[in-house]
């Protein structure tokens, strides 16, 4: 139900939503794409206007043999005194003809065969797919070689054999497109109202399937040009046409005597193919998102939360000042995370502050898309710095994690801060054993001798309740159930003996019965191992059963922070109460489940109003204007209780945001 909220996903969604036309124009912005367009354009122009551009007839003997490039003959003359430039120019035309005719015919053949196979199904599909496989295993170059050898050299023969062997990918793509469109709602609906099959094919299915097919056909142009050049180079080209391969074949005996005979036609092939390759790259590749400029930290009038830690102004990064029993284990201050997207920086976390004490369990609660996972990744320093900009401070046992170099973070991760994730199955490397992955953590511990690692691994697996630990050590991810995989992940987390475990929706993907077991295990471990847990979840029931304190997150900020005790009898923020009301267990069976209308807003800029105003029941009911004018601050309203809401500010007019 709850989607993963990885940074990339969120940023990608925004791009897709904000600019539906991230189409051709966007893709041709990169220098590589422009170069591809330019080279291909030049090639086409030269090929089409060959008669106008070439100084002479490519077959005419216009001068002395073997003249090196000069003003008379820019690219020199060949062994018979023919102009090389004219040959290169006319060779472009031959290449263009081969490339275009092969691409267009393979498109037609592939589309017809793919559409027929997909639409007809049954034995027609079987036969056509076997044929496709056959074409796939026939080596194109050698088949072309054989055809030209048997039927005589000539462009028509060559084009025919290339076209007849270039359609198999197009047919596959069209077939699968037809199959998927065939089952699409609108086609099923059209069939239901009695639209005849052929018309369906033309009006609904093909227009959807044709785009990828055209892209594949374009790819055939380069391959066809290269094969034509290769065959002509072997002396199997059309004797009545100048082609680049023909010229290179001609140059072969004179390589040592006349370098220009091979250099120019070859360069023409290379440049043309480079242009086509760059172009098809641009068509198939997504332009990378540019990271936003680094934003300056802005200090707001009010520093919320339990204040900076005593070491906030701090020690040298990297220096461990020793245990600080008085300060919290983790203190996040004004954490801000932005993702670079094509439409500008997307604010995922916007000045988040929270603390966790030693051995404490803090529940971080909110809907998907509110920034919970991003917060967890930012704390662990796992956000990709090429797409994410992280600002603010993360104090962990007196160390500013944000200022640590990568090597120091690698030592901290796994040994002092561990993480478990929502999808345990995908969090294990599919091709490494469980034992190997636990070993990666154990290997870095000095207190466990090499020979003891296996036994320690088995003990760890035993401790997290895995029934047959000796067998599971050698197991791979695909052999484990979701619950088992999560137990393995917990064992990996425990292997380093961490002070803090960040658990990101650890039970969401699991069966209900397994959920309870995993939560019980976590609860037990937090006590026996004296391990603090940051429990990220969308499930308030989980939190109230298991956490000490709760922080409710909405649109990148904490909107309410309170003890579990108070959550039960005195929730203040309208969002918290709405979340509580939306729990499945709350609604009586005859009632509809309460929902919160709307979704978490995506922020491209800092909002001036309260982030929740648009969805807030009390605001709508009482028509509060302030909520839409200024953003409230997180203020302490009681012992261990802070709220970010205009209804719970000490004085409504003292706003200073």
């Amino acid at each position: 139900m709850v989607a993963t909220e990885g940074g990339h996903g969120t940023a990608g969604q925004v791009v897709a939503e904000a600019s539906p036309g991230t189409g051709l124009r966007e893709r041709f912005r990169t220098p590589a794409a422009k170069a591809g367009l330019g080279l291909t354009g030049l090639f086409c122009i030269v090929a089409i206007a060959a008669d106008l551009i070439a100084p002479s007839d490519p077959f005419a003997f216009v001068g002395q043999a073997f003249k090196s490039p000069s003003t008379d003959h820019w690219l020199g003359t060949d062994d018979l005194g023919r102009d090389v430039l004219s040959g290169v120019v006319h060779g472009a035309r031959t290449s263009l003809i081969v490339g275009l005719v092969v691409a267009v015919s393979s498109l037609i053949i592939g589309t017809v065969i793919g559409a027929a196979a997909g639409f007809a199904g049954g034995w027609v599909d079987d036969v056509l797919m076997r044929l496709t496989e056959l074409v796939q295993v026939m080596p194109r170059f050698f088949l072309a070689l054989m055809v030209v050898a048997l039927f005589g050299p000539g462009l028509p023969n060559l084009i025919a054999v290339l076209a007849l062997t270039s359609w198999e990918l197009i047919a596959r793509v069209v077939r699968s497109a037809v199959l998927s469109v065939k089952e699409a709602d609108f086609v099923v609906a059209a069939r239901a109202v009695g639209a005849p099959a052929p018309r369906l094919l033309w009006t609904h299915i093909l227009p959807n399937a044709i785009a990828p097919a055209v892209a594949l056909a374009a790819l055939q142009v380069g391959g066809a040009i290269l094969i034509e050049a290769g065959l002509s180079f072997l002396g199997l080209g059309d004797p009545n046409r100048v082609s680049w391969g023909y010229m290179l074949n001609n140059a072969q005996p004179f390589v040592r005597r006349a370098w220009w005979l091979s250099v120019f036609p070859g360069a023409a092939v290379a440049m043309t193919l480079l242009g086509i390759n760059l172009l098809s790259d641009a068509l198939s590749d997504r332009a990378p998102a540019r990271p936003p400029r680094r934003i300056r930290r802005r200090f707001r009038g009010h520093v919320d939360g339990p204040g900076p830690s005593p070491l906030a102004e701090g020690p040298d990064p990297g220096l461990d000042p020793g245990p600080n029993a008085g300060s919290p284990l983790l203190a996040v201050e004004e954490l801000r995370v932005q993702f670079g997207t094509d439409v500008g920086p997307l604010i995922a976390v916007d000045g988040l502050t929270l603390t966790i004490g030693r051995g404490e369990v803090l529940g971080l609660v909110g809907e998907s898309g509110c920034g919970k996972t991003v917060t967890a990744l930012a704390i662990a320093g796992l956000l990709d710095e090429t797409t994410a900009v992280v600002d603010g401070r993360v104090w962990f046992d007196g160390i500013d994690l944000a200022a640590q170099p990568e090597s120091a973070m690698n030592r901290i991760r796994g040994s002092r801060i561990a993480m478990i994730f929502q999808e345990p199955g995908s969090s294990l490397d599919p091709v490494k054993t469980v034992g190997h992955q636990i070993g990666e953590v154990l290997r870095r511990r000095d207190d466990i001798a090499r020979g003891q690692r296996r036994q320690t691994t088995i003990d760890l697996l035993d401790r997290v309740g895995i029934p047959d630990p000796r067998r599971v050590v050698e197991a791979y991810a695909h052999q484990l159930s979701g619950g088992m995989a999560q137990r393995v992940m917990i064992a990996i987390a425990l292997a380093g003996g961490p002070d803090l475990l960040i658990a990101d929706e650890p039970t969401t993907a699991l069966d209900v019965t397994v959920q309870a077991q995993i939560l019980e295990l976590l609860q037990e471990l937090s006590e026996t191992e004296d391990m603090a847990i940051l429990l990220i979840t969308h499930d308030l029931d989980v939190v109230s059963e298991f956490a000490d304190r709760v922080a409710v997150m909405y649109a990148g900020v904490i909107v309410e922070e309170l003890t579990v005790d108070r959550l039960g009898h005195d929730p203040r923020h309208p969002y918290t109460t709405a979340l509580l009301a939306a729990r499945p267990g709350v609604a009586r069976s005859d009632e509809r489940l309460a929902t919160i209308p709307g979704t978490v807003p995506t922020m491209l800029e800092q909002p001036a109003e309260c982030r929740f105003a648009a969805r807030c029941g009390p605001r709508v009911e009482w028509e509060l204007s302030i909520c839409c004018e200024a953003e409230p601050a997180l203020v302490e309203t009681g012992t261990d209780h802070s709220v970010r809401c205009w209804l719970h500010q000490d004085s409504l007019d003292a706003s200073d945001t």
Binding site: M138, F141, L145, F151, V255, A270, N277, E440, Y476
Partner: protein, 322 residues
């Protein structure tokens, strides 16, 4: 595991049958009379008829196809008139020379391509990535026979660092280790040319596959347990990317043979390329059709080998299938 291989082998049979039939049809559609080609143009009609009967050419086409396929099953891929030996023998004689170029090139190209692809993926969207991608695009665009000519022009003809053509130095009669060094010396330029065309597809698929794997959740989890970026790349993303890399190498085998044949002609390397070219000039069709069929068989075999390699590399397939 074993039933799986048997099933895959059975699936290959119709493909082989199709490839042979296709070749047979092409040969029969081709203009020109094989008897005239064999006996010369000035034989009398009676002699032609006798020859037709002797070679079974007077039978119905269907029967001829059956006879042809029957011979194929027994390994008879035709008789080379020019060499006066079975085509298979002639081809197998030349094959080792071609493999001598192809195999080292493929090994070197795989090492370079995987390394470059991994580096480009690890630093994606940086200058390093852009440089690697542009260089390989350029390598991808160069026709291999032209690159060979340029290498020959610069390093053999101009600089004289390497021999121009051939596989051995005919003038010196080396033996033992010195002969091996001589062959290696002759191999440098052709292998360089082949490596440069083998690398781009390997690099591209490595990069794409590594990038996909680097975004996978298990990489995030590995990093979360303190595995360094480099170790996550080499120790986790790379092993998971080996399957697509194996596939691309298997799928490109036809293309790689074509490259080797072209390179051989430039460097006058006595291998399949030279054989094919001469066959072409002398209308020695048996050699051409036989090499086509053998290559198609190799490609089908490579697909099979890659599939089996999957099950060796990937525990999911190893345990999952049968």
């Amino acid at each position: 595991m074993a039933p799986y291989i048997v099933r895959r082998l059975l699936q290959a049979i119709p493909l082989l049958f199709g490839a042979s039939t296709l070749t047979w049809i092409l040969v029969h559609l081709a203009p020109g009379d094989p008897i005239v080609a064999l006996a010369g143009e000035d034989g009398n009609a009676e002699y032609y008829a006798m020859m037709r009967e002797r070679f079974g050419l007077d039978r119905p086409l269907g029967e001829q196809l059956v006879v042809y396929l029957g011979r194929l099953v027994r390994g008879d891929l035709g008789f080379s008139n020019r060499h006066n030996r079975p085509a298979v023998e002639v081809i197998l004689d030349q094959l080792p020379a071609t493999l001598l170029l192809m195999v080292p090139s493929l090994v070197i190209a795989a090492l370079i391509g995987i390394a470059l692809g991994a580096v480009a993926a690890g630093r994606r969207h940086t200058a390093v990535d852009a440089t690697v991608r542009t260089t390989t695009l350029l390598g991808h665009a160069m026709p291999v026979f032209w690159l060979s000519q340029i290498l020959l022009l610069v390093f053999a003809a101009r600089l004289g660092w390497f021999p121009v053509q051939g596989r051995t130095d005919a003038r010196a009669n080396h033996e033992g280790l010195r002969a091996a060094v001589d062959v290696a010396h002759h191999m440098v330029l052709p292998v360089t040319a082949l490596v440069s065309v083998y690398v781009p597809p390997i690099m591209r698929v490595t990069r794409a596959s590594m990038i996909e794997n680097l975004d996978a959740l298990y990489i995030r989890a590995a990093r979360a347990r303190g595995v360094s970026r480099r170790r996550a790349l080499i120790g986790h993303a790379l092993p998971n990317s080996l399957l697509p890399i194996a596939t691309v190498i298997g799928a490109q085998i036809g293309f790689m043979f074509a490259g080797a044949v072209l390179v051989e002609t430039v460097f006058a390397w006595p291998g399949l390329g030279t054989l094919l070219l001469n066959a072409m000039l002398n209308r020695d069709y048996a050699i051409i059709t036989a090499s086509l069929l053998m290559l198609a068989t190799t490609i089908i075999g490579m697909n099979l080998v890659t599939d089996i390699a999957y099950s060796v590399i990937d525990p999911r397939v190893r345990h999952g299938r049968d």
